[in-house]
């Protein structure tokens, strides 16, 4: 994303530096590329052999309707796919996955935007500390973070006891093994990505725009809604896409925080593959999950890029 700078401010910068900086004598990169290809060979072979081909392999498997993997008597058909679309169990699981992912997007957007704004307004030092604080938990295993939530969300855990002590509730809420627990776990895990996406677009806003607004007499409230918020939409959109697609495909958090009570697609797929050994059907479910994510993201992006704020995406 290119920084959105007003043409006028670029002109001013030019006027302030009338002498164009001397272009550094740049040596052309070597035109030869055979050695480069040689350096790339190991990694390319590895990614092809152990990523591209396996991904295509399960796509191929998803069209086999017998559980026999590609033997002589394998039957190729769309049966796996038609079964998914005619069975309400899988469709409701898909809907549940989309719903929970949308909730976790909303929670991380509302909690993340103020953090991003605070970071954009702070000095480099404070910003560094905040970055460290929000990014470090990503480097601790998700099972450990989920265990922390387990302790907090237990029926007699900290959150329920606090709420009961404050007389907000009489009986403990069912937070664990419920949709709320999954949304908490997911939004907690992916909130840092939302913050980092928004902060990246906030940095790119020309501060003179805000000043101009203030000089022209706009209130801070108005300046936020007319300048900062619209110009940070690209960051919001990419943050939402990131949190949405990560939530759609998360397995560990729904399995630990929701268990059998929250059968989202990844949990259903895991069950099909590892417990029921329906490998071809599980492959088809995997590609349905991938396709749903990609299509939702495409629709969402298009909505914004074609909509009212299309200018900010240039």
């Amino acid at each position: 994303m290119e920084p959105i700078r007003s043409y006028a401010s670029q002109e001013i910068e030019k006027d302030l530096n009338p002498i164009e900086p001397q272009k550094e004598p740049k040596f052309k990169k070597r035109k030869v590329w055979i050695p480069g290809l040689l350096l790339l060979t190991p990694i390319l072979l590895f990614i092809f052999g152990f990523f591209v081909i396996p991904m295509l392999y399960i796509l191929y498997l998803s069209f086999i309707s017998t559980d026999n993997l590609g033997g002589a008597d394998a039957v190729y058909s769309l049966k796996n796919y038609t079964q998914i679309f005619t069975d309400s169990y899988y469709l409701s699981s898909l809907w549940l996955t989309v719903k929970i992912s949308l909730y976790s997007v909303l929670v991380s957007l509302f909690l993340g935007y103020p953090v991003a704004m605070t970071m954009a307004k702070s000095s480099a030092r404070i910003r560094g500390y905040i970055t460290l604080l929000i990014v470090s938990p990503l480097l601790v295993s998700i099972v450990v973070r989920n265990f922390g939530w387990y302790l907090l969300l237990l029926p007699n855990g900290t959150i329920n006891q606090t709420l009961m002590a404050l007389c907000i509730i009489d009986t403990p809420l069912k937070l664990l093994f419920s949709e709320i627990g999954v949304v908490i776990g997911l939004s907690n895990a992916y909130l840092p990505f939302m913050i980092l996406s928004i902060v990246a677009s906030l940095y790119n806003i020309d501060p003179s725009l805000d000043k101009a607004g203030a000089i022209l007499g706009a209130s801070p409230f108005r300046r936020f809604f007319s300048i900062t918020l619209p110009l940070s939409i690209p960051g919001i959109v990419s943050g939402c896409i990131l949190v949405f697609s990560l939530s759609m495909s998360a397995y560990v958090t729904p399995a630990l925080m929701g268990g059998a009570n929250v059968p989202v697609m990844p949990v259903v797929i895991y069950d099909q593959i590892n417990n029921l050994l329906h490998w071809t059907f599980g492959s088809a479910l995997s590609y349905i999950l991938l396709a749903t994510t990609v299509i939702s993201v495409a629709v969402f992006t298009r909505m914004f890029e074609k909509g009212k704020f299309k200018e900010v995406f240039r």
Partner: protein, 268 residues
């Protein structure tokens, strides 16, 4: 206006606490003297730490995790650094496509990647073997190493290599004495990051482990699914401690924030 700014900071503080709190509660919970996990802990004892030593499966899982994370880091750094050098230094046609391909394992859900590799490895007799496990972990580490080393190379002055060559150094000497020291810190932080990624991984590992070969996060995961036992808290505290040490080193070398800059990261 004051109230608006105050509200923003209040929510921001709340959000940061929200991010950190699951990790903060684990450590005090590990010192409980009760037979069930809780926060705040009941009483104080170190029994759940000494119990780790009585459970050989945890120690074994820890050794497996550390061993495979180190191997995955070494291989992904070698592949990734060579690849990044190839991309950054030479005018290869279709460069952007190659970079996109090499970082694409990040945009595929780890669950799907794990399934794909399990099915692909089964006819090859690699499923449930340490080789299969290692390959899967190298695949998930490569994108991070690629990104870090490419970032490190973006400010690289190729004139230094030319100067060394003009002064008569052979290509190997140029690489060892000029190129490597200059991209070393990027490669090391790539390696540390790869180590943590592999060490923490659950989703891909679930499809690669066997009853004989399990890793620490997998052990914690299955303990949590079967029965909640305070030993999970003490083992988790050990994991947090290891992660914090590595994060501090990573922060000193490169800055932890850089790794995630506009990234696509799959975890969980």
């Amino acid at each position: 206006m004051k109230t608006l700014g105050g509200l923003r900071i209040a929510v921001a503080v709340l959000a940061i606490i929200y991010i950190l709190i699951p990790l903060i509660v684990v450590i005090p919970a590990s010192f409980t003297s009760a037979n069930y996990p809780s926060f705040p802990a009941e009483g104080f004892s170190l029994q759940w730490y000494t119990k780790i030593l009585e459970r050989p499966e945890f120690l074994e899982a820890f050794i497996n995790s550390a061993k495979f994370a180190a191997l995955a880091a070494i291989f992904s750094v070698i592949f990734g650094t060579l690849g990044a050098l190839g991309i950054a230094k030479y005018d290869i046609p279709g460069k952007s496509y190659i970079t996109a391909l090499l970082t694409s394992p990040l945009s595929v859900p780890q669950l799907v990647l794990g399934i794909a590799l399990l099915m692909y490895f089964t006819p090859m007799m690699l499923a449930g073997t340490s080789t299969g496990f290692l390959i899967a972990h190298i695949v998930i580490c490569i994108p991070y190493v690629m990104r870090l080393v490419l970032t490190g190379l973006s400010g690289f002055d190729y004139n230094l290599e030319r100067a060394a060559a003009i002064l008569g150094a052979n290509p190997l000497t140029v690489f060892l004495k000029v190129t490597l020291p200059l991209i070393g810190s990027a490669a090391i932080s790539g390696g540390l990051f790869a180590f943590l990624t592999s060490f923490d991984n659950v989703t891909v590992s679930l499809f690669m482990v066997s009853p004989e070969m399990r890793t620490l996060p997998i052990e914690i995961f299955s303990q949590m699914q079967d029965a909640y036992n305070p030993i999970v808290a003490s083992v988790s505290s050990v994991v947090i401690f290891i992660s914090v040490v590595l994060i501090v080193i990573l922060e000193k070398i490169q800055g932890v924030g850089k790794v995630f800059g506009g990234s696509h990261h799959t975890n969980g």
